[in-house]
């Protein structure tokens, strides 16, 4: 039978054993879990925070918290998914805190009626290069990073979890501590903002590619 893929199944089984051993007092068993899942958690953390330094801190904190809460994991089937969720929760808290600190220095944070943070994109002077220059200099990737960095922490978390992590709406709602309908709206809002910020450049690249002039 196809169960899950054999390697995934084996990994879940050995994760379960490592969890049991850790709970039984064998601290080194936790090392297996850290070494196995760090890179995956790092990918999520990097996409959420947008920089290596913060991503590494999120990874460390996620595993520390996982160790502390391990007894709550007992009946769950997949350690990887569990620690991923812990990392997402911590990353969003960290981003909110940073945003709040930055806002205190620059502009006051605002909230919409449903409690979601408003981004400051519209209030920050747009110093972005023109589309022509971007297309010519091939800086689409940095423009995309910029657009992502201008999402609110909740939007960025929702976008990363949905489109890169393949998470369901319930899982996203849990990370955002919101209702499922609010989480759905946040996912939609994130894509809408990214479209607004990036579509001209994406289309331009498509045209350049079609004409064989992409740099």
């Amino acid at each position: 039978m196809k169960r899950m893929r054999p390697s995934v199944e084996t990994s879940i089984e050995s994760d379960a054993i490592a969890v049991e051993r850790t709970l039984a007092g064998d601290r080194d068993a936790f090392r297996i879990l850290v070494e196995r899942h760090s890179r995956n958690v790092y990918r999520l953390a990097y996409r959420m925070t947008g920089n290596q330094h913060d991503a590494e801190e999120v990874v460390q904190e996620a595993f520390l918290r996982a160790y502390q809460k391990l007894s709550q994991f007992a009946s769950r089937a997949n350690f990887g998914t569990w620690v991923y969720r812990i990392a997402a929760n911590y990353a969003i808290d960290r981003m909110r805190q940073k945003k709040s600190e930055d806002s205190n220095r620059a502009l006051p944070a605002r909230e919409t009626e449903d409690g979601a943070e408003m981004d400051l994109m519209s209030t920050v002077p747009d110093g972005a290069p023109s589309p022509e220059r971007l297309a010519q200099s091939g800086q689409l990737a940095s423009q995309m990073r910029r657009a992502l960095s201008q999402l609110t922490p909740a939007e960025r978390t929702a976008f990363v979890m949905r489109h890169w992590g393949g998470s369901g709406i319930e899982e996203i709602a849990e990370a955002l501590k919101s209702s499922t309908s609010a989480a759905k709206n946040t996912v939609f809002r994130s894509v809408q903002k990214l479209r607004k910020a990036l579509e001209p450049f994406v289309e331009q690249r498509g045209q350049a590619r079609a004409m064989g002039t992409e740099l």
Binding site: M1, K2, R3, M4, E9, E13, S14, A16, I17, A18, E20, R21, T22, L23, A24, G25, D26, R27, F30, I32, V34, E35, R36, H37, S38, R39, Y42, R43, Y46, R47, Q52, V59, Q60, F63, L64, Y67, S71, Q72, A74, S75, A77, A141, M144, R145, L148, R162, H163, K184, V187, F188, V191, Q192, L194, R195, L198, E199, V202, E203, R205, G206
Partner: protein, 272 residues
């Protein structure tokens, strides 16, 4: 149909099921919406090209070196030796089943002993024994629910490896379900004896599902497998097992006896 909204097209891109067929039909007839969906696809595909720096093959080791000095040593429990096994032994090995059987026998013995030594006065050593028996039961049922959940989750995730595959082998799950049925019956009877009808009810439903799996053929067609899966889903048994498992875990952690029949924990479970 009217043109789908932007959020519906994004949800369609994400593979959401609601209204999928209607949108697909509309897209076939509407070049405008087709172009809009292509723009969404192109944007999300472009975002996928943002590189994530590779932290290196040894990243996990570095993380461990950074966090391990700050990890407190956990104290083990007396029963851990029963459940822990060398890493090379599979999760559901015969040895583990033997251990689970031993626990089940222990629970049964503890309850028979309990019945023989009744009545208990509150605050006496016999009352403490009752508490110990209850904790053993809570722990053992929690483990049992965890193993049952794993079998059901594996079935939910299983399917043919290729599109043309005519049969799927579920003999592994079937054997494990067979073993779990016996254990389940024991715990259900014990819960009934204790007057915990809510737990007994969930165990009764779980038993029916386990029997269903245990009585299935070893090789099933994808349609039969889907039938089993739908019966599991229809009963909502995975959700119930998780809720009860969580409650038992909290009970075990608090070291308390179950809530009184009118207590909030039991009423919550009854809602399930």
């Amino acid at each position: 149909m009217k043109h789908p909204k932007e959020e519906e097209l994004i949800a369609y891109h994400d593979g959401e099921a609601a209204g999928r067929e209607v949108i697909a039909t509309h897209l076939g007839d509407c070049p405008e919406c087709q172009a809009e969906l292509e723009r969404i696809d192109a944007l999300l595909a472009a975002l996928n090209t943002i590189p994530v720096p590779d932290p290196g093959e040894d990243y996990g080791q570095r993380v461990w070196q950074q966090i391990s000095p700050g990890l407190p040593q956990r104290r083990g429990h007396w029963w851990d030796f029963i459940f822990s096994e060398p890493k090379t032994v599979p999760w559901l090995s015969p040895r583990r089943w033997a251990a689970a059987g031993a626990i089940a026998a222990l629970v049964l013995a503890a309850f028979i002993a309990g019945r023989l030594t009744r009545p208990n006065a509150p605050g006496t050593p016999a009352a403490d024994q009752t508490k110990v028996r209850e904790r053993i039961l809570v722990m053992a049922v929690g483990e049992h629910l965890g193993r049952s959940e794993m079998v059901l989750v594996e079935l939910a995730n299983s399917g043919p490896e290729t599109a043309g595959q005519k049969e799927v082998n579920i003999s592994g799950e079937q054997r494990r379900a067979e073993d779990l049925v016996g254990e389940n019956r024991l715990y259900r009877q014990t819960a009934l004896e204790q007057g915990d009808t809510a737990l007994a009810g969930v165990l009764d439903e779980l038993e029916r599902v386990l029997l269903d799996v245990a009585h299935s053929p070893q090789q099933v067609t994808p349609a039969q497998l889907e039938g089993i899966r739908q019966r599991i889903e229809a009963r909502g048994i995975l959700f119930k097992v998780r809720v009860v498992g969580k409650e038992l875990q909290q009970r075990e952690e608090s070291g308390n006896a179950p809530a009184s029949p009118n207590g909030s924990a039991k009423s919550e479970r009854n809602k399930v």
